[in-house]
């Protein structure tokens, strides 16, 4: 109960950061529902087995890398290293776009090996789950482009407000990264 009884102080977590955590919880429930449905449906039989195309492994490495680069950008921002901040942010955005393109190539590869969208729920699930994840990454790229505009249009000034806003982008970006790693591990354990 100690946590529940905390007294008023100004150094509490910023409301927007907390709101993002709650939203992340909500998104986790959505993907939790999909993966649970996957498990339940798979146990019922009539399930097409196939191996995931290798390109999904490459995209996993790419998105993991982008988490490292955005962290470097954040460190650069905090330590006043403008070049590192701008450069790493740009690299992150490029890696993010590359990830989405690779997911698309992954779907093409799936399609070619006969695991089409409608042939069996086993493949339908892959498209729906990875597609929805890609949509969340695109949302992250949207947030990144706002951060990029800040970085390249506004003069470099690490104010508290800008730090808080950038922090939100970093938090969300790490989340979509970890979410994909979870999904990838899930698919590999299931197939």
């Amino acid at each position: 109960m100690a946590a529940l009884r905390q007294e008023y102080n100004q150094s509490k977590i910023h409301p927007h950061k907390l709101a993002l955590w709650v939203a992340i919880g909500s998104i986790i429930m959505m993907f939790g529902a999909f993966t649970s449905a996957y498990v339940v449906r798979r146990a019922a039989g009539n399930w097409l087995e196939f191996k995931l195309p290798d390109i999904f492994m490459v995209s996993t490495v790419i998105i993991l890398l982008s988490s490292v680069t955005i962290q470097l950008a954040y460190a650069g921002f905090k330590n006043g290293k403008e070049k590192q901040y701008k450069g790493m942010l740009l690299v992150t955005a490029v890696l993010g776009l590359a990830f989405v393109v690779m997911q698309y190539m992954g779907w093409e590869a799936l399609n070619q090996m006969g695991a089409t969208f409608t042939v069996n729920p086993s493949s339908s699930f892959i498209y729906v789950i990875s597609g929805l994840h890609a949509a969340h990454v695109l949302g992250g790229i949207g947030a990144l482009s706002v951060a990029l505009t800040h970085a390249f249009v506004l003069p470099f000034k690490p104010t508290l407000r800008r730090k808080q806003r950038f922090d939100l982008v970093v938090q969300y970006w790490h989340f979509v990264d970890i979410l994909w790693v979870y999904l990838m591990v899930f698919f590999m354990l299931q197939s």
Binding site: R5, Y8, V22, A23, S26
Partner: protein, 620 residues
């Protein structure tokens, strides 16, 4: 009626000045900039008090439509031979007029009416209308905040709800009619556009409306949780919060965790409908044509739907519980009985809500051994529910009870919750459910326990906080007519349904089961229910008239704290402006339920503890 405590009124200013927290809010002129004209003040407002009222009035609009629909299908059930040609100007071709000039309700449209009644009441009225109203109005006022954590997201929450309403409303005018496969939207009726008239465009619009609605709920819920955790005034520890805050907090957590699961389920449904996947469809023949869908499972949708659907009923009832706790305590002039137990029982209900969903599916082919698990947890919900009922009765027991419209509806809520809760124990047993499922017994159960009870909680809240919303009182005479008529009328509608249900009369039948010889003798009872339903409907019109009349011409409020209540919302000016408090925010020194303590009638939350005095909220 009006409670004047001159000592407290002046003490309040002094204490706010001395102990209040100065957040320099009024030094920045962000208030006026956004509220400069009619459009930004009343329509596209980001002020939580306006948004709360927008939710309430939109909810009233939908409640009227949803209730009117129920009157049309009750007419069909109670008076199947009656001539409904007079409804043609409103319902158009859905009333089929034969050569003799006798109008009959189109059976297809009967199902559409029932489906829309369910969707509207569950989601648009008792979710958005109830939590949307009171969460928005009360959270910042009761915890001592200037506004929500994100006023913009808050406004978006309302406008997504509004948009969802527009889409659903438009679907009523489709030539093929709105969706007609039941509010639960089970496939295959919902998954195959060719399955029925309403499964085409009607279902598409239903899905779009629900998706918008889920977005609205999530934006609202995220905001409510963040605001309660983050923006409480100095001294307002969680254990000093008034119970509506706890209720809304638990409700918002349930919503944020369960609505995304519904969205997942509905998304898969969309792919089945439009892109040819087979998540829910398997070996199916429609109109003699064999479809090439294989391998899906309709039960999967039921699992996803009820994983939201069950928490949803607590999303509906928990805010009502919180409101009633506050209203009963204030009007009993006694501290709420068992504050801590009230909080823990809400947390317990919130937790159990997630592990009982399959009790909606006992007869859907779920493994009976798995059913056992769900039976046990379902019955355990009776324990925290009984704790709450005991505490409400403990609160009013031996009190100097004020019989106002608000407090009467509070007591009515407790009555309804007991009556409806007891039948839940029947239905929660999977063995008894074999006989009772899909009968009018189920209809009676859920209407009393989450329909009527939640409405009573909402009415209690509206009568109680109307002075805070509009600076005027509602008319008490009309309020009491509304209460007694609705109490007696609601029991008259739903009590007989227990008997027809136990006799086996199935629900969802256009003729109310009259085509079965065994059920023909319930004709009189059905007629009685329909007459009672019409009377109750007209009593709600009394409420609506009272509501809108009182906004403009009700008795004006002359004191800040008309009910002599302890919580912070009554320390704001009679018509609070942007930022709620004109100067400093009051700080909180004690819990919200010090009524009749140490010879004082009530001690508001901003009054410091006396030396050696024990704070009852923190000290559990």
């Amino acid at each position: 009626m009006a409670h004047v405590n001159p000592v407290a009124e002046t003490l309040e200013d002094k204490l706010t000045q001395e102990l209040g927290y100065d957040d320099h809010f009024h030094e920045h002129h962000h208030g006026d900039k956004f509220q400069s004209n009619f459009l930004t003040t009343y329509i596209f407002s980001t002020d939580h008090k306006i948004i709360g009222r927008q939710f309430l009035i939109t909810g009233i609009f939908w409640a009227f439509i949803g209730a009117a629909m129920s009157i049309v299908f009750r007419l069909q059930l109670g008076f199947p031979e009656a001539d409904l040609a007079w409804l043609r100007p409103i319902l158009g071709k859905w009333i089929m007029v034969n050569d003799a000039g006798i109008g009959k309700l189109d059976p297809e449209f009967y199902y559409a009416l029932v489906t829309m009644h369910g969707t509207i009441l569950v989601f648009f009225v008792l979710t958005a209308g109830l939590s949307g109203t009171f969460a928005n109005l009360l959270i910042p006022l009761q915890i001592g905040a200037r506004d929500m954590a994100s006023p913009l997201l808050n406004a978006l929450s309302y406008w997504f709800f509004f948009l969802a309403g527009v889409v659903l409303f438009l679907s009523l005018f489709l030539s093929t009619g709105p969706f007609s496969g039941g509010w639960t939207a089970y496939p295959p009726l919902s998954a195959l556009p060719q399955a029925s008239d309403g499964s085409g465009a009607g279902m598409t619009m239903w899905i779009v409306a629900m998706a918008l609605f889920v977005v609205s709920s999530l934006l609202g819920g995220i905001n409510y949780i963040t605001t309660i955790l983050n923006l409480r005034t100095k001294g307002m520890s969680l254990w000093r919060m008034p119970l509506p805050m706890w209720a809304i907090f638990v409700t918002a957590i349930l919503g944020v965790l369960s609505f995304p699961v519904l969205l997942s389920g509905v998304l898969l449904l969309m792919f089945d409908r439009s892109l040819g996947t087979s998540f829910y469809l398997s070996e199916i023949v429609v109109g003699g044509e064999i479809l090439d869908r294989i391998g899906g499972s309709p039960i999967l949708f039921q699992h996803l739907f009820w994983f939201l659907g069950h928490p949803e009923v607590y999303i509906i009832i928990l805010p009502a519980m919180g409101i009633v706790s506050e209203v009963l305590s204030v009007h009993s002039r006694k501290p709420i009985f068992g504050y801590t137990a009230m909080v823990y029982s809400m947390l317990a209900i919130g937790f159990l809500a997630f592990i009982v969903w399959a009790h909606h599916m006992f007869m859907a082919g779920v493994n009976p051994f798995i059913s056992n698990f769900f039976v046990i947890f379902t019955l355990i919900i009776a324990v925290p529910s009984a704790v709450k009922v005991f505490n409400w009765i403990g609160t009013i027991y031996g009190s100097n009870f004020r019989f106002t419209s608000a407090s009467l509806f509070g007591v009515g809520f407790v009555s309804m919750f007991i009556s409806g809760g007891l039948t839940g124990i029947f239905l929660g047993n999977s063995a008894i459910d074999i006989a009772l499922h899909d009968t009018y017994f189920v209809v009676a159960h859920f209407h009393i326990v989450m329909g009527v009870a939640a409405f009573f909680g909402m009415f209690a809240g509206v009568y109680h906080w109307f002075p805070k919303m509009f600076g005027r009182y509602m008319n008490e005479t009309m309020g009491k007519i509304h209460f007694w008529g609705t109490l007696v009328g609601a029991y008259a509608i739903f009590w007989p349904m227990h008997y027809t249900g136990m006799a086996g009369v199935p629900r969802r039948y256009y003729d109310g089961g009259a085509s079965f010889d065994a059920f023909r003798h319930f004709e009189d009872l059905n007629r009685f229910i329909t007459v009672a339903a019409m009377l109750v409907f007209f009593l709600q019109v009394v409420f609506i008239v009272n509501f809108f009349y009182s906004i403009f011409s009700g008795k004006k409020l002359t004191v800040k704290n008309p009910w002599g209540s302890n919580s912070l919302e009554w320390t704001t000016p009679i018509k609070p402006g942007h930022g709620n408090w004109p100067g400093k925010i009051p700080t909180v020194q004690r819990w919200a339920y010090d009524y009749g303590k140490g010879g004082e009638e009530f001690i508001p939350q901003y009054v410091p503890l006396k030396e050696g005095e024990h704070d009852l909220g923190e000290g559990h």
